[in-house]
Subunit: 212 residues, 2 copies
């Protein structure tokens, strides 16, 4: 589990000339994710995170003043990285790429973090707001951009409610990844990438695409 | 929170002539939901559940032999009750009713339970299977039934992948209820019922409905 790598942020921090702090931060974020998966928000203790990261609790508290602060920081650090928004030339390719990126993200560390803290976010507004910013907004922005390109290309009529379209992209991917237990013989394609392919024609039709 | 009522099961048990046991069971299921919301799966203890329900831990263990057994039992007891599947005469009304039922369920005790244990289900197969049976299967069955009626009425062409349609009903409702923090001025309509209305025309179009 600790073999997952945090993207960019740590590397950027390292370039600023504080590699030791950056490594320590990365170890703390790694450890926070692992502890959240094992024990949930309620069961997580800053002592266990510090122990797993190989730092003292004093060091942890210099950077994060509370458990909530630490978990909110981890949610920010593990924000979903959906990859760049390429123009693939047509709506089907753009939407297909986004669905596959979303499947990959949900099955990776960011998805595991989201799943581990979703319950806590029900009564923790700071955490709920960070999750919204880290997991919903970036996807909405990619949906809005690809819809705009498709309208410009004349592939679909203007979209009356792009927010709902974003929910139709996020939602089935989340419910499928989080609620459908893996089946025997799922090897090869993951449930997420499988549902991404199957969802695509329905989404294109919902958008009134002329491709179909 | 303890004003929520468990449906059927307890009443049925009461009819079998053991009202005291039924009341105790209901109190235990109520208490389990509350403790799960407050402390998550990891933070829940059978002692705290027994205390909140006003029974001894010995009594709790006579009925549920472990914490896992208790939580799995609660997930079963709080299984989503989507209400009956009426034939409303046309696809738009059938689908609209289902979306509203789903919104109501997600905002009620069954939705709160689901949210509280989703993280634990990532590494607890018994719980994952119960959630699938209690929250996914009943909705899939209602989707399949309403699609069949719509095809019979000649409203839509045969549906190639009804499972994906079910994900398009569950998914956006789950992601919207669990991931979008409530906004100021949301009074009146809840976020769930709002998204249900907005989703409907896109779903009808995805299904190739002639209504539109």
């Amino acid at each position: 589990m600790t073999t997952d790598h945090l993207p960019e942020t740590s590397a950027v921090a390292a370039h600023r000339g504080r590699p030791r702090d950056a490594n320590r931060d990365r170890a703390l974020m790694d450890a926070t994710l692992t502890e959240l998966q094992l024990h949930g928000y309620s069961g997580l203790t800053t002592a266990a995170v510090a122990r797993r990261a190989g730092v003292s609790t004093a060091t942890l508290y210099r950077r994060w003043r509370s458990k909530e602060d630490l978990v909110v920081g981890a949610a920010r650090a593990w924000a979903e990285n959906l990859g760049p928004d390429h123009d693939n030339g047509d709506l089907g390719s753009d939407l297909g790429a986004l669905l596959r990126d979303k499947a990959t993200a949900l099955e990776g560390p960011s998805g595991r973090l989201l799943r581990a803290v979703l319950g806590e976010a029900a009564h923790n507004r700071a955490l709920a707001d960070v999750l919204f910013g880290a997991f919903v907004i970036p996807l909405q922005e990619r949906v809005f951009a690809l819809l705009e390109r498709a309208v410009e290309r004349g592939e679909i009529p203007p979209v009356a409610d792009p927010l709902v379209v974003a929910e139709m992209v996020i939602g089935p991917m989340v419910s499928h990844t989080f609620l459908v237990p893996p089946q025997e013989g799922d090897a090869g394609t993951t449930p997420g990438t499988d549902i991404a392919e199957r969802l695509l024609p329905y989404l294109l039709r919902a958008l009134g695409s002329r491709e179909l």
